[in-house]
């Protein structure tokens, strides 16, 4: 990797803010998105923070943010720049829908253009919960992946990544360049300060038409219905510990 630019590419997605309570449309055609607050996917925010910390440790010279979204997502990119990234790439979709494999193909085009030594992105977006894009990018790029990262240590040639897996904490060593996806506990993203927001307005933001990248449309999985989850019924209240224990015994649970 020694001849690669010391550049980190961070891919982000604009999603419904995690504090918004999701409501399903009564006709089953989707969830209500009109007027809801949109934010950077929280796992992607962690990805931006980690890239900035790597740069602040002197292991990178530049953090570039990329998103694939409609034209009005520019404000989201400006927020990412306000966190401290140097510039942004906006692949404008204009209504085209991309599935994760299509997103990964577009990101590969950006990777070929930017030649980063590291790509960091959230392990999943909190809207579709697919958890696919990073792994797919790594496969198409034919490079290593380290998913669900809770710690990243870098040398000039390798990344040592601790991963949150079901069995505990797994540590991998991967050659650079590589793709890392973030888990919740990798870091706590910084708050953006007002002067940074002002500064972000003049940072370079390049728009790229999706159609100019030559990635074929990818719409093989169709959503035919969206419904609310089955609700749990409220159960019984017991008056004291003895009544609780008796109820558990009655149900064969203790």
């Amino acid at each position: 990797m020694t001849n690669l630019p010391r550049r980190i590419l961070v891919a982000i997605k604009r999603v419904v803010d995690y504090n918004v309570r999701i409501r399903v449309k009564p006709d089953g055609s989707g969830v209500m998105l009109d007027g809801v607050k949109l934010s950077i996917n929280p796992f992607d925010q962690i990805a931006i923070e980690e890239a900035l910390r790597i740069k602040e440790r002197g292991r990178a010279d530049e953090v570039v943010i990329a998103t694939i979204a409609p034209a009005d997502a520019q404000a989201t990119l400006r927020n990412a720049l306000a966190m401290g990234a140097q510039r942004a790439l906006h692949v404008v979709t204009d209504g085209a829908h991309l599935e994760p494999l299509g997103v990964a193909r577009v990101l590969l085009k950006l990777v070929e253009k930017e030649q980063p030594f590291l790509v960091i992105l959230g392990k999943q977006a909190i809207d579709d919960d697919n958890n696919q894009t990073g792994q797919m990018l790594a496969a198409l790029w034919d490079r290593p992946q380290a998913t669900f990262a809770s710690k990243i240590e870098l040398t000039d040639t390798v990344a040592r990544v601790t991963r949150e897996v079901d069995a505990g904490l797994e540590t991998l060593e991967v050659d650079l360049p590589a793709v890392v996806s973030t888990d919740l506990r990798l870091n706590e993203p910084r708050f953006v300060k007002l002067p940074e927001i002002m500064k972000a307005k003049t940072k370079p933001l390049e728009t790229i038409a999706l159609g100019s990248l030559g990635v074929p449309p990818d719409a093989r999985v169709k959503v035919s219905k969206t419904e609310p989850p089955a609700a749990r019924q409220r159960g019984i209240m017991v008056k004291d510990t003895a009544a609780l224990f008796a109820e558990l015994q009655k149900r064969g649970l203790v």
Binding site: Q132, Q135, L169, S224, P228
Partner: protein
């Protein structure tokens, strides 16, 4: 007819319980031919364990020297190689399957459907979005090769007693050397695993200290239960990260879930809504956890938990 390849998850010579659930999910495709692929270095007892799962027609043991650690980078080319003739490639939606299958899907140019909770037909599936706050039905055109991860909380384990044929092949896939296993720091081994335990006791912010959290461990040990924690308790430092239950932690479906001093934030409830019986102990009678609890008790946990322990001890004598 569907040809389903189930990628087995295993470690330490033992088939992971999630594999039996994935086989069960595959068997909801009528008349499916279900083949379990086990990736090993050879001579592993895991293939024989997979052969006993009801509904499995054949076990394919794929051997390669690099399979001592099940890394996505080296497994994916092998799965893609043996997966070519199959219509459906399934793995459990554990961190193993989530890591591996998108890499396989990209190599095969197949769409992936994540966290399948119901298989309606060969081409139609249900899956959760927005952390389970909405359920979508997704469809692909007939003849589309599908890669999917199976949400294990939605399926029971396939029964044992099967006797499928085991076939062993050496992998001829070209594997990369760019990814290397370093270490695994296992979560505590003296209690049941949180993800698969039949009973789970979780503590919340109301415990108010790491020291008081020992109360939860004590009760869990008396019941043979795994221990979980709410995100608030983890963030406050009362319990380690890997114990977090909820949308951003572990999503579990035990027979019995006891939430102690947990208010029941949406993100926590998302992680437990498939539990068979939910018990809530909280001093706030208005806590949202009572909306979903099968049995609720309003009161001070520092009184109730020791009382409960005494009753359990008495019942054992």
């Amino acid at each position: 007819m569907s040809q389903v390849l189930v990628v087995a998850e295993h470690a330490g010579g033992k088939l992971n319980a999630s594999t039996a659930k994935t086989v069960k999910a595959a068997s909801s495709l009528a008349g499916a031919d279900i083949v379990v692929a086990v990736f090993t270095t050879g001579g592993s007892p895991v293939a024989a364990q997979a052969a006993q799962l009801a509904g499995v027609t054949r076990v394919l043991e794929v051997t390669h020297a690099s399979n001592d650690h099940q890394l996505a980078a080296t497994l994916a080319p092998q799965v893609a190689e043996v997966g070519k003739p199959f219509t459906h490639l399934f793995a459990p939606s554990t961190t193993f399957g989530k890591d591996l299958m998108p890499r396989v899907a990209a190599l095969l140019d197949a769409p992936q459907i994540s966290d399948v909770m119901s298989i309606e037909s060969e081409t139609r599936f249900k899956r959760p979005i927005y952390a389970g706050n909405a359920i979508t039905t997704v469809e692909v055109a007939g003849g589309t090769k599908i890669v999917a991860t199976i949400r294990t909380a939605s399926f029971e384990a396939a029964a044992g007693g099967g006797n499928a044929k085991v076939e062993s092949v050496a992998s001829s896939a070209t594997l990369p050397s760019h990814s290397r296993f370093v270490s695994l720091a296992a979560a505590s081994a003296d209690r049941p695993d949180l993800q698969s335990a039949s009973k789970v006791i979780s503590g919340g912010r109301a415990l108010a200290s790491a020291d008081a959290f020992k109360l939860i461990y004590g009760l869990a040990d008396k019941l043979g239960a795994a221990v979980g924690a709410s995100r608030a308790a983890v963030d406050a430092g009362y319990a380690p990260n890997d114990m977090q239950v909820g949308q951003t932690g572990k999503i579990i479906a035990p027979e019995l879930y006891i939430a102690i001093g947990i208010s029941g934030a949406i993100q926590h409830l998302t992680g437990i809504k498939d539990a068979r019986t939910i018990v809530a102990i909280n001093k706030d009678s208005e806590a949202p956890i009572f909306e979903v609890a099968d049995i609720g008790l309003v009161g001070d946990l520092f009184t109730i938990v020791p009382e409960l322990e005494k009753l359990i001890d008495a019942s054992k004598q």
